[in-house]
């Protein structure tokens, strides 16, 4: 769907690839996941050495498109591939930075957590894992959450009790690495990419192996054939 692919565009700034999500709340449905994967394919085929994802307007991503989901047949719902997409980002063979330009909720926050780094704009937008409030579990994403969120108080507040965070608050937890005004967000993300890459960037194969081992449990849990999405009948 060319109009939809247009809303998930890739651009390159030097050797950094930027995936811009420009689709309202940037919610995940099968068509939008397909578009994201196509963009990631383009990036993997290129010479890019780092990936930045960013939303537009008020939203980074508000998570799963529940309205779309409720209209799917059971078969269609089973093919919904957010779990493999998260696996793909988690083990992406170059440094990844989520530039959180606005609201980052639920599946959107999990998508952001799957990246190596997170930066966020100040003054607008909440970061939140509201699953408890929606009476949902993390199911196939519970290890992703565990491997990216510090244990203890932060985990309890953020993951278990679905606290919502401003940029300043989420930076204080360590889950977001840096924050700045919206106007400077992309520059901050590019700066982080540059700092991470150093002089020569990283060998893709080696980085993928390291990520796969470091996030072993999360990778296993989100591998194809081992997916368990929340009980869709509950929606």
């Amino acid at each position: 769907m060319p109009e939809l692919q247009d809303k998930y565009r890739v651009e390159f700034v030097g050797d950094v690839a930027i995936l811009r999500m420009n689709n309202g709340e940037n919610r995940f449905s099968s068509p939008t996941i397909t578009a994201i994967n196509k963009a990631l394919d383009e990036i993997e085929k290129s010479d890019a050495k780092a990936l930045i994802t960013i939303g537009s307007g008020r939203f980074y991503s508000n998570g799963i498109d529940l309205k779309w989901m409720s209209q799917q047949t059971a078969d269609e719902a089973l093919k919904f591939a957010l779990v493999p997409l998260v696996n793909r980002v988690l083990t992406f063979p170059m440094p990844t930075i989520a530039a959180i330009n606005g609201h980052c909720y639920a599946g959107g926050a999990i998508f952001a957590l799957a990246h190596d780094y997170r930066v966020m704009r100040t003054r607008q937008g909440w970061f939140c894992l509201p699953e408890i409030h929606l009476k949902l579990t993390f199911s196939s994403f519970k290890h992703v959450i565990k491997c990216k969120i510090p244990q203890g108080r932060v985990f309890t507040d953020m993951a278990v009790f679905g606290k919502r965070y401003t940029a300043e608050q989420v930076k204080a937890t360590g889950v977001v690495d840096d924050i700045t005004e919206m106007a400077g967000l992309m520059d901050l993300a590019l700066h982080m990419a540059k700092q991470c890459l150093g002089k020569s960037g990283y060998d893709r194969e080696t980085l993928k192996i390291l990520k796969t081992d470091l996030y072993e449990d999360a990778v296993k849990e989100t591998s194809v054939g081992n997916q368990q999405l929340f009980n869709i009948a509950k929606l």
Binding site: P95, E205, T206
Partner: protein, 243 residues
């Protein structure tokens, strides 16, 4: 007391100062191969055999704490020796992680890769300032960790962000940086390093000391996850009953 023993013999030696044992590594880059692992084990035997000893400090001499595996030597060995090396290394890590007295790695200089792993198997780490990098350069030399090594490292680091920076992207740290991420407990000038290491151990030791047996059992329990991963590898199993 002088921080650095200029009269330290070459190789691996143990010095006793009251109830403190200091394992001096005076072997250039203090890299690990089958022979140096055996020497370290002999030194640890000496320490364990001394019933008065209540603290173990390990430290290097000169520019290096340890630069990790002896890759040159390994490259010249066949697969059997490589595998034996890995098994013996895992045995050494387990021995250190469960050592029956408090252990402190007094990091006097560069601490890279396998050297960092060795240091993380201690209860505490202290580091000198102004010289010496800490780094896991695996990404830079395109030599990934074995999964059970990654598992051990993760269990020893304090947060996902630190694990990312240190293990994925091979960031280099100086003493001040390591203090900020809770990898070392204290930092100081080289001349005070041993003293600071001993003080750190004494803080842990408290007034009442510990039963060696209980401390080993406690350490085995706490490190149970990492130890099981190492023990279940074919490398460990192959050397399990070898001296």
């Amino acid at each position: 007391m002088a921080g650095e023993s200029t009269s330290c013999p070459p190789g691996y030696s143990v010095e006793f100062r009251d109830d403190v044992a200091i394992l001096w590594m005076n072997n250039g880059e203090n890299r690990f191969n089958i022979d140096t692992i055996a020497e370290i084990n002999r030194a640890l035997d000496t320490v364990e055999g001394s019933s008065l000893t209540r603290i173990l400090i390990t430290t290097g001499v000169g520019k290096f704490y340890s630069n990790g595996f002896d890759l040159n030597w390994l490259g010249n060995q066949g697969p059997e020796i490589n595998e034996e090396f890995v098994g013996r290394l895992y045995k050494l890590w387990i021995r250190l992680m469960t050592f029956p007295v408090p252990t402190v790695a007094a990091i006097n200089g560069h601490c890279y890769a396998g050297g960092g792993l060795f240091a993380l198997c201690h209860d505490h780490r202290v580091m000198r300032t102004q010289r010496g990098w800490w780094c896991f350069p695996e990404i830079h030399i395109k030599l990934p960790f074995r999964p059970e090594m990654m598992n051990l490292l993760q269990n020893k680091l304090s947060s996902p962000a630190v694990a990312r920076d240190m293990l994925l992207f091979g960031k280099k740290y100086v003493a001040e940086d390591l203090l900020k991420v809770d990898v070392v407990d204290d930092i100081c000038e080289q001349s005070s390093l041993i003293e600071v290491a001993i003080n750190r151990a004494r803080t842990t030791l408290g007034k009442d000391n510990y039963s060696r047996d209980m401390l080993t059992r406690m350490k085995e329990d706490i490190n149970n996850n990492s130890i099981e991963r190492l023990v279940s590898t074919p490398y460990y199993q192959a050397v399990k009953s070898k001296l």
